[in-house]
């Protein structure tokens, strides 16, 4: 997949932008707060249909405007050229609205309206943000969000099952509280338990398969970044149910969850919340047999975060038989020079890479690929040079 052209109108600090891109490595350099991350956010928005940074999409509209538009012209071997346009309009009366807030979103593919759900999987893209370190280091919820984002972006049925499951958990939690207050009896849980198991089973089946495949890619990804024999493996963790059970199908997961729900019923009522299911699960990352979250050094954790994205890239590449667009936001601050060049050496020849930096000289540009360098300043982009062609 390749981004050939990006057009912006009133997007963040870009009044207008019309940028033509080709294959290879594109480096957007500039001082802080000039619009580098905004640019990657715009590319991600046209690919996936939502911002990677915020759910308040009104924030993406330039402060002095009512409507923002981002249009990407993409090209792939499979589909040829096509455009994705995302338009955002402020919701509600402009004067009553604080800037930011929610927005009305319209998505068009080749000019024809599309729903967000129907955009899933159209443009494969992998984005590395500075704050990805939190996937390794942060709370379990952050890791579940990583899984859910990735899987929802590629599968409509996963997105649907997740939405249903989340609703079931909300309804069930309310019911558990009512049971605790003596307003309803335990038997009223039955229909919600059935659905918890059914949708939970779907989610867990897809998640475990994805994590298994991702883990297989994590080994070479980590090795490539560190030039060492150690790889990174990833496992899907559940703290509930029979620890010896190894379900693989949706039905087996559903049965396991249905059993677990029975055994924790009283505790759930006591706490007034759902204690078992995929909304409680987690991921674990291992390097050389040790848990990176607990025992990894800062540097190892950063490398693991990057290896995770590289693994994601390789997996999508293999599944879709086409390299995703790779967006790297300021990986300078994340890695030492050797690891950075190892990564770019490996990826730049395969994929279109769009990256940002505050310091071009420190990037460690690969010698063999075409490198385009741009300068970003206050919402404008100047093309400066091309190296290595």
């Amino acid at each position: 997949m390749e981004l050939r052209r990006l057009q912006l109108e009133h997007f963040r600090n870009y009044a207008t932008l019309d940028l033509a891109l080709g294959p290879g490595l594109h480096v957007f350099a500039g001082a802080n707060a000039q619009g580098k991350t905004n640019l990657l956010e715009a590319v991600y928005l046209t690919a996936v249909g939502r911002s990677p940074r915020t759910t308040h999409e009104g924030e993406l509209i330039a402060w002095d405007a009512e409507v923002a538009r981002a249009t990407g012209l993409f090209a792939s071997d499979l589909r040829g050229e096509f455009t994705v346009e995302v338009a955002l309009g402020r919701k509600g009366a402009p004067e009553a609205m604080s800037r930011g807030g929610s927005a009305q979103k319209k998505i068009k593919v080749n000019g024809a309206p599309r729903t967000l759900a129907n955009l899933a999987g159209l443009v494969p893209v992998v984005l590395f943000l500075v704050d990805d370190l939190e996937i390794i280091r942060g709370e379990p919820a952050r890791r579940r969000q990583f899984l859910d984002n990735d899987l929802s972006a590629t599968s409509r049925t996963y997105a649907w099952a997740l939405k249903q499951y989340t609703r079931v958990v909300e309804q069930r939690n309310r019911l558990l509280k009512e049971i605790r207050e003596g307003q309803r009896d335990l038997a009223s849980l039955a229909p919600w338990n059935d659905q918890l198991a059914a949708f939970g089973g779907r989610l867990m089946e897809v998640r475990t398969r994805f994590v298994r495949d991702l883990s297989a890619e994590g080994i070479p990804a980590y090795q490539g970044l560190t030039s060492s024999p150690q790889g990174m493996t990833i496992s899907y963790r559940r703290e509930w149910g029979d620890p010896a059970a190894e379900p693989t199908t949706r039905e087996e997961f559903a049965a396991l969850l249905a059993d677990a729900v029975e055994t924790v019923a009283m505790e759930e009522v006591g706490r007034g919340s759902s204690l078992v299911g995929p909304h409680r699960d987690d991921l674990q990352f291992f390097v050389d047999g040790k848990d990176v979250r607990q025992f990894g050094s800062q540097g190892e954790q950063r490398t693991a975060a990057l290896a995770l994205r590289v693994a994601e890239f390789s997996l999508l590449h293999r599944l879709l038989q086409e390299p995703p667009v790779l967006l790297l936001d300021d990986i300078l601050s994340e890695l030492d020079r050797t690891r950075r060049s190892a990564m770019l050496d490996h990826l730049a020849p395969i994929a279109q890479v769009i990256m940002t930096t505050t310091d071009v000289d420190a990037v460690g540009l690969p010698p063999h690929a075409a490198v385009h360098i741009y300068h970003v300043s206050q919402g404008t982009v100047d093309w400066t040079s091309v190296l290595g062609e």
């Binding site: 409509r156 997105a159 649907w160 939405k163 249903q164 079931v168 309310r174 229909p191």
Partner: protein, 199 residues
């Protein structure tokens, strides 16, 4: 600032309170009503008053009716061994418009939803069980929407009705899954593949 003559503004405001009608449509409707011949306006007014005063709930199925019983329950050619459960009269109308169905209905008046404070007591479940008492009914079709709440309601009722020796079936195909048209196309196919589930 007042833009319109007061009575016109009042009409626009009232129309805007109706579901699915925004400021623009309200304005358009009001201007249309203003230009209508007087007898048509009178007709409309009396029709609106009539639904208020002359329409009540059917004592059997809770459909709307002019007398004790609705036209469906009153129709002697209807199959009395078959009842379709729906949450709302709107669903009944949709099924009737589809045309082929010859059985009876039962309007539940909602769906199970703890977050909205709706449990079995808030639905017409007792009324349904009473209808099943005489053993005439052989099949109950659960036609609640395939949302989380619709499925929960169906699962709850299936558990309740099956022990009475009544056949219970669930329709799901052809309805937008999740109640969300965003997802309908692919998921309708998915559910179709997974087939109609016996309950």
């Amino acid at each position: 600032m007042q833009l319109y003559a007061k009575p016109l503004q009042r009409l626009i405001d009232l129309l805007e309170c109706l579901p699915g009608i925004g400021p623009k449509s309200a304005q358009r409707l009001a201007l249309h009503l203003l230009r209508l011949p007087p007898e048509q306006v009178d007709n409309l007014v009396s029709a609106m008053q009539d639904v208020r005063t002359r329409v009540r709930q059917c004592a059997i199925c809770y459909n709307y009716a002019e007398s004790d019983h609705c036209p469906v329950c009153d129709d002697p050619t209807r199959d009395r061994t078959l009842i379709t459960l729906i949450s709302d009269v709107r669903d009944l109308m949709a099924l009737e418009n589809a045309g082929d169905y010859r059985g009876l209905y039962h309007v539940l008046g909602g769906l199970l939803s703890p977050m909205d404070g709706i449990g079995p007591e808030q639905l017409r479940v007792r009324e349904l069980l009473r209808r099943l008492e005489d053993g005439m009914v052989r099949e109950v079709i659960l036609a609640t929407n395939p949302t989380v709440e619709g499925d929960a309601t169906a699962l709850y009722l299936a558990r309740l009705i099956k022990p009475l020796g009544v056949r219970v079936t669930r329709i799901a195909l052809g309805l937008p899954v999740g109640g969300d048209l965003d997802y309908a196309d692919q998921l309708t196919i998915l559910r179709a593949l997974e087939g109609r589930t016996a309950m």
